[in-house]
Symmetry: C2
Subunit: 235 residues, 2 copies
């Protein structure tokens, strides 16, 4: 069964965590909105009609099943592609970690959009500066410190132990994204998370991920995504 | 098996969505942090050690299993207490709706904390005003409009059809919370969501919920929770 992924075609965004899982799994998928009329097809599936149409991308179509929300899609894919435990306890635990990442991603986005997602960054530069300062002072250390501790407590290879899960792929993306958006701040901060930096490198070296990152399926970071490089925010 | 819920003892917050589900289910549970030494017990379980300790409350202990994140706890409880479909497709669909509510709850919190959760509201009153204006102009209509449409498309009783799910309990809480925090704005807006107002009343009238709301187990809304009544934000 070929998966159909629906997500904005020009950004990594929240879809990237799904792309990384599909790529690591070597799963056959179409990134629908990147093909002809794909965005129109995506918009048509959202927001109205009987059943439970998605509120927003990303969503994954598997036959007649449509699954929305990044963490929910990963929950579905994880146990099918050996990227999470199959037993309920482990499945819920890994899902909880992904939901913590979801919360962090919102906070990353809020650094450049503290006054809301509907306004431009240019209209909220001052508040963005303040929010970003707070983000690096307390939020990054709290979130990444948690994952660093977890990694350490569970042996140092991957965050829940010796086997890679979709959470590790997402942590790779967080490190890569923070490096892109905040090169200067991240340079200093990386010393505090040696474990996560090692994990980032280990994920990047996995054959399927390595091939993906070198392909044109990997969209470059840019200023429409979650991780944006705005000089005034990276002091 | 008696559930042990861990959440901050003086606010409804994110724990309230879990409390509502447990109450509707008539499940036996202890609200641990509201008892003696409960907060200390809760803090002890967080953030470090082998396995996957919770990042933050709420979390639910079921025997040896510890499940964190509101939506994840509801995913677990839903199929066990007839508050969500048992089959995978329905389970994932209801979970997706709850994750949309999770996103909305973050945006509610950001109305009074646009510069970050670590600063006081008093230090971000100006940005809070702007974020709140944006919230009511575009975010509330988008989110609640989505649920209103869904309710309408699925028959008008509950959001996915004739049977109540934990999502309906959460939608009750959103309406109640918005009424508390923004009485004046909500008074005007309610005309646009007659279906959700009806759903709110239907949930409030369910015997177990009605008894819960009248009990002292229901903590009153207050200015430490997600929904806060700050006059300058309710124009």
């Amino acid at each position: 069964m070929r998966y159909q992924l629906y997500y904005w075609p020009t950004i990594q965004g929240r879809g990237e965590y799904v792309r990384l899982a599909l790529e690591e799994a070597g799963a056959a998928y179409t990134d629908v909105a990147r093909g002809g009329n794909g965005v129109a097809a995506m918009m048509k599936m959202m927001g109205a009609g009987k059943g439970v149409p998605p509120f927003a991308p990303p969503f994954l179509k598997v036959g007649n099943l449509v699954i929305s929300h990044t963490a929910n899609i990963l929950l579905y894919l994880g146990s099918r592609h050996d990227l999470a435990p199959k037993a309920e306890a482990g499945k819920l635990a890994v899902h909880a970690l992904q939901l913590t990442i979801t919360d962090f991603v919102v906070e990353v986005h809020d650094t450049h959009h503290p006054l809301g997602p509907s306004l431009y960054y240019e209209d909220q530069k001052g508040p963005a500066k303040k929010r970003t300062a707070e983000f690096w002072k307390s939020r990054v250390p709290k979130y990444l410190g948690y994952f660093e501790d977890l990694l350490d407590a569970n042996g140092g290879a991957y965050v829940t132990g010796r086997r890679v899960t979709y959470v590790d792929l997402s942590l790779f993306q967080l490190v890569a994204g923070l490096r892109y958006a905040f090169p200067s701040r991240m340079k200093t901060f990386e010393r505090k998370i040696p474990g996560l930096i090692g994990l980032h490198d280990r994920v990047a070296a996995r054959p399927n991920i390595k091939a993906y990152l070198a392909s044109d399926r990997r969209i470059a970071f840019n200023e429409d995504g979650i991780f944006r490089r705005y000089k005034p925010l990276d002091v």
